[in-house]
């Protein structure tokens, strides 16, 4: 190093010749989902983790696990030793019809989950962290406040925006587009027409990943007599074989029957379960199309974006198109390239485009 460093114990001497200390700004786009939480950051990091948070049940399990809190797949794997929380139901914090204890637990788990997601994005200590979190279009005010409260502990400033809107914004498709964002808890539909969508432009449906799991559980019970399985096993089967196509490889799974692993063909069961969401989604699309300017309805039908983890079901785009043909006369569905990160990428773009003054006002 050729420069000579001189430590000056007094305040800066000559009044402002030194450059101001520059603080970086880290933008985060967060898709806080029922099943998975995805984060993309302006430092190039992108992370997705299962939205599970577990706390050791007692001192013994804590000593064994060597951790106070576990997240994602690790929490799922060790769930027998943990008090396991899936803090977000239908994309928002679990709230009503629960005891105070459950609620407190979910809030704590949500805070820890958000903190962990942000930590995984590797922010530097000297950077400002500005985050935009995508939430379901119909999240209640209580839920929005709770998510804000949970995020505030880990970021300098935070904003919420509608999840399907962020998907469209991220792809720069702001005009005459219909977005289908299939999550675990809800499927959000959003109509974009060049301005910020309002309540009448958005629909939230229960026909989503969890509903498919529930249906698949019933189908398996019928087609795999005496087989034992848990909801998690059902979810794994769906994620591995999920398809609505007629021509697919057979889905063969091993399930225990009285303790003995037994092979079952679950192709039809999986297809039937996955297909259950097609009709409600197209029905929802129909409602949004029918209330749109008739002059632009055809264009809207031609620009349907399919996003979210649930969109990974094989052949779903074609199945929705076929159903749109039958119910609405036509339709063209475009599956986005990164279903897991579509919402987070869009939220990141919103964060980037948000003016500094707005961020400062919310600090």
């Amino acid at each position: 190093m050729s420069d000579l460093e001189v430590l000056d114990n007094t305040e800066q001497g000559d009044g402002g010749t030194q450059a101001a200390v520059e603080t970086g700004v880290l933008y985060l786009g967060i898709d806080l989902g029922t099943s998975r939480t995805s984060v993309t950051a302006s430092n190039g990091e992108r992370v997705t983790l299962a939205s599970y948070v577990g706390y050791p049940k007692d001192v013994v399990s804590r000593k064994l696990l060597k951790k106070d809190v576990l997240f994602g797949d690790e929490a799922l794997q060790k769930r027998l030793s943990l008090n396991l929380f899936r803090p977000l139901a239908k994309g928002v914090l679990k709230f009503s019809e629960q005891t105070e204890e459950d609620y407190e637990g979910n809030v704590r788990a949500a805070k820890d989950l958000i903190r962990e997601a942000i930590r995984l994005a590797k922010p530097r200590a000297d950077e400002l962290v500005y985050a935009v979190i995508g939430v379901p279009a119909e999240a209640s005010i209580n839920n929005r406040e709770a998510i804000i409260e949970a995020a505030r502990e880990s970021v300098d400033s935070v904003m919420l925006c509608s999840e399907p809107f962020s998907v469209a914004y991220g792809l720069d498709m702001l005009d005459d587009v219909l977005v289908i964002d299939i999550g675990a808890g809800t499927t959000d539909l959003c109509r974009m027409h060049g301005t910020m969508p309002d309540e009448s432009d958005q629909l939230t449906l229960d026909a989503a990943g969890d509903a498919v799991d529930a249906r698949l559980e019933q189908e398996l019970a019928a087609c795999c007599p005496n087989a034992q399985f848990t909801r998690q096993m059902v979810k794994n089967i769906k994620e591995r074989f999920g398809s609505v196509s007629e021509r697919v490889d057979e889905a063969q799974v091993m399930l225990p029957v009285e303790g003995k692993p037994t092979q079952f063909d679950v192709t039809d069961a999986v297809r039937a379960a996955c297909h259950t969401i097609v009709e409600p989604i197209v029905e929802g699309l129909g409602r949004l199309i029918a209330t749109f300017d008739p002059e632009f309805q055809e264009r809207l039908k031609d620009r349907v974006l399919l996003a979210g983890g649930g969109s990974q079901i094989q052949g779903l785009d074609k199945a929705i198109e076929a159903q749109m043909q039958r119910s609405l006369g036509s339709g063209r569905v475009i599956r986005i390239e990164e279903p897991m990160y579509g919402g987070a990428n869009g939220a990141l773009k919103v964060a980037h485009d948000m003016p500094a003054a707005y961020w400062e006002s919310l600090r």
């Binding site: 000579l4 460093e5 800066q12 700004v25 880290l26 302006s42 003016p355």
Partner: protein, 281 residues
């Protein structure tokens, strides 16, 4: 606040960087942080040269430029040598070294915690035993006291009775006997109760001492746990990955649909302002 932002929005689509004020720097560095001024060596050499020339000018008018330059060179060389000799080498700890150190600390704290836990456990067992013993002793003492006390009372009463029988059976003597007997028995009972209370107090004192030690040990265990937690956090220290942005961005002026996007950002902000600050700011 919000209104003023709205007014600005139309005028300037690219907002100024958020952290231009000194407050942010102070927050970042802390109030007591010292400033580090970096001086380029060439700049320092030039400054010495100028200082020497300024110092000599006017005093030694006959000295030629060559001689002044020579004095400046000598001063520069001497000053740099002195500065380098007196400078302290500052070196950061490598991540490996840091982790090694953290691991050593962690092991030490774990051992301390283990010891404290064992001590606490042993102490708790001792207290339990002592409590049980105390209860048992108290019950035995009370029973024994009752038994022996009754016998003693009887003996004492008989002695007094026989003592008075030796006297004449005057009516005032019988009354006197009764009074003396009551008096004596009352006195004996009081003494016995005092002894029992003293023993119970002694035992209680001993248990309280144990409890104080337990409280102290528990606190020490909590401190160790806290230290461990901090260690765990330190161990996970990661400098992080720097963002590609040094300042707050905002929409580019050449962005497609700039007007629509500006409006959308304002709408999102408005909704969040209402949500987070109730609409006022």
């Amino acid at each position: 606040m919000f209104e003023s932002i709205r007014r600005k929005k139309g005028a300037a689509t690219r907002p100024a960087p958020a952290r231009s004020e000194g407050g942010g720097e102070e927050k970042l560095l802390g109030r007591r942080a010292r400033r580090l001024n970096l001086v380029n060596q060439a700049h320092l050499v030039r400054s010495i040269d100028q200082a020497v020339r300024a110092g000599l000018a006017g005093r030694l008018t006959e000295m030629d430029d060559e001689a002044i330059a020579e004095i400046a060179r000598t001063t520069q060389a001497e000053l740099l040598t002195l500065l380098k000799a007196g400078a302290q080498a500052v070196r950061g700890l490598s991540k490996e070294k840091f982790l090694e150190e953290a691991e050593r600390d962690r092991r030490r704290i774990l051992a301390e915690r283990e010891r404290a836990s064992e001590d606490l456990q042993a102490l708790l067992e001792q207290v339990d035993t002592r409590r049980r013993e105390m209860l048992q002793a108290r019950e035995e003492l009370e029973a024994e006291s009752r038994r022996s006390g009754d016998a003693q009372d009887e003996v004492l009463a008989q002695r007094i009775a026989s003592l008075f029988e030796e006297e004449d059976g005057a009516s005032d003597a019988a009354e006197l006997r009764e009074r003396v007997t009551d008096l004596l028995l009352g006195s004996v009972r009081t003494e016995r109760e005092k002894v029992v209370k003293a023993q119970i107090a002694e035992n209680r004192q001993s248990v309280e001492n144990f409890e104080r030690r337990i409280t102290k040990l528990t606190r020490s265990l909590e401190v160790t746990e806290e230290e461990l937690r901090r260690m765990a956090e330190r161990k996970e220290v990661d400098p992080g990955v720097a963002s590609v942005f040094r300042t707050v961005q905002g929409l580019n002026e050449d962005e497609d649909d700039l007007e629509a996007k500006t409006e959308m950002m304002a709408t999102i902000f408005e909704a969040n302002l209402v949500l987070q600050k109730g609409g006022g700011a």
